[in-house]
Amino acid sequence: MTNETNTTAIVQRPSFLKAVMAIVQKDLSAEFRSRELLSAMLVFSMLVILIFNFALELNIDVRRTVTAGVLWTTFAFAGTLGLNRSMAVEKDRGCMDGLLLAPVDRSAIFFGKAISNLAFMLIVEAIVIPLYALLYNETRIFQLEFLGVLLLGSIGYISVGTLLSAMSVQTRTRDVLLPILLFPVAVPVLLASVKASGGIIEGLPLNDILTPINLLIVYDIVFIAISFMVFDFVVEE
C-alpha cells in the first residue's frame, strides 16, 4: 500500500448531461458483461409468445388482428422484469446511496436510469420482433411507422416504469408490486400503442392512426415531466 501523495483531484460539479451519460454507460457496460437482465427479458419474451401461440391458436386470421396486442403484452411483461432488476441492482448493494451522494441533480439519476432501461427494452424488442416475424411469417411489422410507434410506446412505458420501480424497490413487497403499480397507470400507453401498431399492420392510412400516435406523444411528454418533477420525493429520505 502506498500513501496518498499529491495529485490533487480537480473537482467540479459534472454537467447534467455528463452525469446522465456516466450512469447510462455504467449500466450498459455492467449489463453487457453479465447479460443477466437482457437474457432474462429475452427468454421471458419468447416464453410469453410461445404461450400466446397455444392460448390464442395464432393462425393467419387471428394473427392479423392480435399481433400488435401479443407483442405489446410481451414487451410490457418483459419490461417489468427489466425495470425491477435494474433498480434492484442499485438498491441491494447500497449503490443508490452512492448515486445520491454524488453532487449531481437527482433528476440526472432518473434520466440516467430511464435511458438505460429504455436501451434494454429496445434491445429486447430488436431481437423479439424479427423472431416473431420469422416464426409467424409476419413481415408487415417491418415498417418505419411500426418501429416509430414502438419507440414512442417504450419511452412512455419506461419513464413511468423507472419512477415506479424506484418506489417499489423500497417496499417490503418489492418483487410483486411493480406490475401492480405500473400496469393500471400505463394503460393509456399500452392501449394507444396497440391501436396504432395494429392499424399499421392492417395497412390503414396514416391519417387513421394519428389519434393514438398523438395520444402517445402527449402521454410521453406529460409523464416524463411528472417523473422528472417527483423523482426527488421518491429517493430522498
Binding site: 417496499t171 397507470v185 395520444l215 411528472i226 421518491v234
Partner: protein, 232 residues
C-alpha cells in the same frame, strides 16, 4: 381524549336524513322512465356515487401535491381518507351500473370506455393501498402515496380519453350528445331534480365520511403516540 365535535354529530344525522331524502326522490318522486321502466331509478344513485368517487380521487391528487410541498402528515391523512371513501363509492357506482346494464344492454358488464376506465381506476387505488401496506416509515408512505395518487389522477383522464377515441355505447347523460348511445334517455324536469338531490345528498355523505375518517386517522396517531410513551 378529544370528544366528537357537535358539528360532526349534526352532520352524521344530516347524512342519514340525506340518504332518506335521496331515496324518496329516486324511488317515488322521479317519474318512471318510459322505455326502461323502474330499473332506471338506479341511475340517480349511480351518478351520485360516481360524482363523489371522482371528487375524492381528484382531492387525493391535490392534497398529495400539497403534502409533497408542506411535508405535513395531516395532508396525508386527508389523502388516505379521500381515497378510502372514494374507492368504496366508486365500487358502488360500478355495482349499480351493472344492475342497470343488465336490462338496458342485456349484460352485466361490457368493455365500454367508462366501464373500463372505472375498473382501471378502482385497480389504481387498490394498488395504492398495496403500495402503502409495504412501507413502514410513515413519511415515506405518505410521500409514495402522494406521488402515486398524482400519477393516478393524471392517468385516469388520459385513459378515459384514450378509450373514448373508440366507440362507446354508454349513454352520455351530462352533455348534449345524448340519445345516440344505446339506452340513452332524455331527462324530464323531475328527473333532473331527483338527480340534483342525489348529488347533494351524496356530497353531504361524502363530507361526513371524510370528516369521520380524518378524525379516526388523527386518533389512531394519538394512540400510537401514547403506546410509544408507555413503552419507553
Amino acid at each position: 381524549m378529544q370528544t366528537k365535535p357537535i358539528a360532526l354529530t349534526i352532520l352524521d344525522v344530516l347524512s342519514v336524513i340525506s340518504i332518506g331524502v335521496a331515496t324518496y326522490f329516486a324511488l317515488v318522486f322521479a317519474p318512471t322512465e318510459q322505455i326502461m321502466g323502474q330499473v332506471q331509478r338506479v341511475f340517480y344513485f349511480h351518478v351520485g356515487t360516481a360524482w363523489v368517487g371522482m371528487l375524492g380521487f381528484i382531492m387525493a391528487a391535490v392534497v398529495g401535491v400539497i403534502y409533497l410541498i408542506k411535508k405535513d402528515l395531516k395532508w396525508d391523512r386527508i389523502g388516505v381518507a379521500a381515497v378510502e371513501v372514494s374507492t368504496m363509492f366508486f365500487f358502488i357506482t360500478i355495482a349499480l351500473g351493472s344492475i342497470w346494464a343488465r336490462p338496458a344492454w342485456n349484460t352485466w358488464w361490457t368493455w365500454d370506455p367508462r366501464l373500463t376506465t372505472a375498473a382501471i381506476t378502482e385497480l389504481i387505488y387498490i394498488a395504492y393501498f398495496m403500495l402503502r401496506a409495504g412501507i413502514e416509515d410513515p413519511e415515506k408512505r405518505a410521500r409514495f402515496g402522494a406521488v402515486y395518487t398524482l400519477l393516478g389522477g393524471i392517468s385516469v383522464p388520459i385513459t378515459f380519453m384514450a378509450i373514448r377515441l373508440f366507440r362507446t355505447i354508454h349513454p352520455v347523460v351530462v352533455g348534449n350528445e345524448s340519445a345516440a348511445a344505446q339506452g340513452g334517455f332524455s331527462m324530464s324536469g323531475d328527473m333532473v331534480t331527483a338527480m340534483l338531490v342525489s348529488f347533494a345528498a351524496f356530497t353531504i355523505i361524502f363530507i361526513d365520511l371524510m370528516w369521520n375518517r380524518i378524525r379516526m386517522g388523527s386518533l389512531e396517531e394519538k394512540v400510537e403516540q401514547l403506546k410509544l410513551k408507555v413503552s419507553m
